[in-house]
Symmetry: C2
Amino acid sequence: MAANFNVVGIGNAIVDVFAPADDAFIEANGLNRGAMNLIDADEAERLYAKMAPGRAVSGGSAANTIAGIASLGGSGGYIGKVCDDQLGEVFRHDIRAAGVAFETPPLSGPDAPPTARSLILVTPDAQRTMNTFLGACVELGPEDIDPAMIARAQVTYLEGYLWDRPKAKEAFIKAAKLAHAGGRRVSLTLSDSFCVERHRDSFRDLVTNHVDILFANDEEMRSLYETQTLEEALNAIHGDCELTVVTRSGDGSVVVDGVSVYEVDVEPVERVVDTTGAGDLYAAGFLYGFTQGKHPAECGRIGSIAAAEIVSHYGARPERNLAKLLAATRPDPGT
Amino acid sequence: MAANFNVVGIGNAIVDVFAPADDAFIEANGLNRGAMNLIDADEAERLYAKMAPGRAVSGGSAANTIAGIASLGGSGGYIGKVCDDQLGEVFRHDIRAAGVAFETPPLSGPDAPPTARSLILVTPDAQRTMNTFLGACVELGPEDIDPAMIARAQVTYLEGYLWDRPKAKEAFIKAAKLAHAGGRRVSLTLSDSFCVERHRDSFRDLVTNHVDILFANDEEMRSLYETQTLEEALNAIHGDCELTVVTRSGDGSVVVDGVSVYEVDVEPVERVVDTTGAGDLYAAGFLYGFTQGKHPAECGRIGSIAAAEIVSHYGARPERNLAKLLAATRPDPGT
């Protein structure tokens, strides 16, 4: 069957609630600054009560990536679990309105956990500290993996955050096997260094045995292989993945294809407002380029352009048409 | 009793969902451009399904005004009806987090209508077309008017939109009578020219018998008195209200105090993004000034500063601290 999705993503289906906060607030509430903190319903209620007025925008790491693929003009599908409540309706609306196929049945009934939300505190340095109540996401399981959807995708993209739940882990492995059985690629983002710490051994196993294209930031790579430097980590992974893509915030990104190492500059941004989704949109641009057969360095450049758009406003879903934004630039003449 | 609220507002408690739209979309869906269109649950579902991905921010005309009062450093209370659903939680959180007292009991139970939402389409000219499903708001009634709260407020502020529902109308009159019995002021915003057309006679009666400070835009004033020019409308209202305040979009505002007419310039804005809430925040600034005993022209100037902040971003709740913004300006030397 011909692939007619560029990328299908599997992840935690989350509505983000953004509010500004100062550093004292992060500290006083014992939050891991810059990280994704998992919180339960009670903690979510307590933290929300203390937060400034917010704005709600659909989020979820892989969902942001797939919305980015669609905004770039690609075709995307998404698998993730919401509840049939108001936030679930918001999530479903937004991802479909972005042009993404999304058919995962929602939870329902009086005892169903609500749609996940992430309370995201943005400090004056534009860093985001995420506090996620997973809600309905914990019910995502192998039965939600639609084999037909995976078969139709050039790349199946998985977010590391899912690794926190046993059923989602099963779903993950099922999807990876289906993708490979159909001759497709599997891509993973490590998501968060705390997430890597929680699951180091099984992540290594996953990378070695199931992943073709790995996304990570510098810290996550070093955590995965317990190395001091990124170079050592890249040596450790050598050969395990077809492509390893490492983002380094303001220092650009590095793409390793097993033969060469490509360094990609960041795209300049007038004012960084909120870094939420920078990695997700970098992955969107990269994978979009990859599915168009672009050179790894050009994939990285498209990723940087998509990331630059997302950090220029609150929220991790594109507010400008990325295809137009991309068309207004020209490929690096060196690639 | 000493007043310890500057202003208490009564209005439709709404969560706004903003999305960009082009003019063709407004036309194809038969919407009144620039107006507030009332829609039912089915229409809301149909329109939402066609809208672009959105962002949700608490709204509601009088609620925006009271949030503005709080941001200016004033003290505010709010009365409005939500359901105990997720959007109701968002509304309650946001208004309380803004520092506003809000104690109206929410609706609950399986048959309760959901929290109101307004689907707000923002066209490239930054004009907003609002499509409001009133939901739980229709249940606001006189029993929700807390006499103690009204007694504590220097000004009780009412939004004309409420006039669409008989029970809310009763609540309105009850609040106005309570305020006057306590020697307080009553203020009304006409809200929308279509709303004025629907209720012209009873609005005129309300203005004549119950309102001390009237807010309207040019079109609403002319509609209320069925005149061709604003001057004729201002002549018609002469003496009925202590203060009549008319906003004229880009042409500034006019304040009439029964003796004099003051013209107030608009505050320059770098880029107008979304005009939603401009009138609400103008009223916030004006009433804040009024409760501080400021000259009418200075009240208008504070209104213009608050309105300028709100049109510079999506959403009708202040994103910057208005007290700081105001402190950074200096009063017009002429006043």
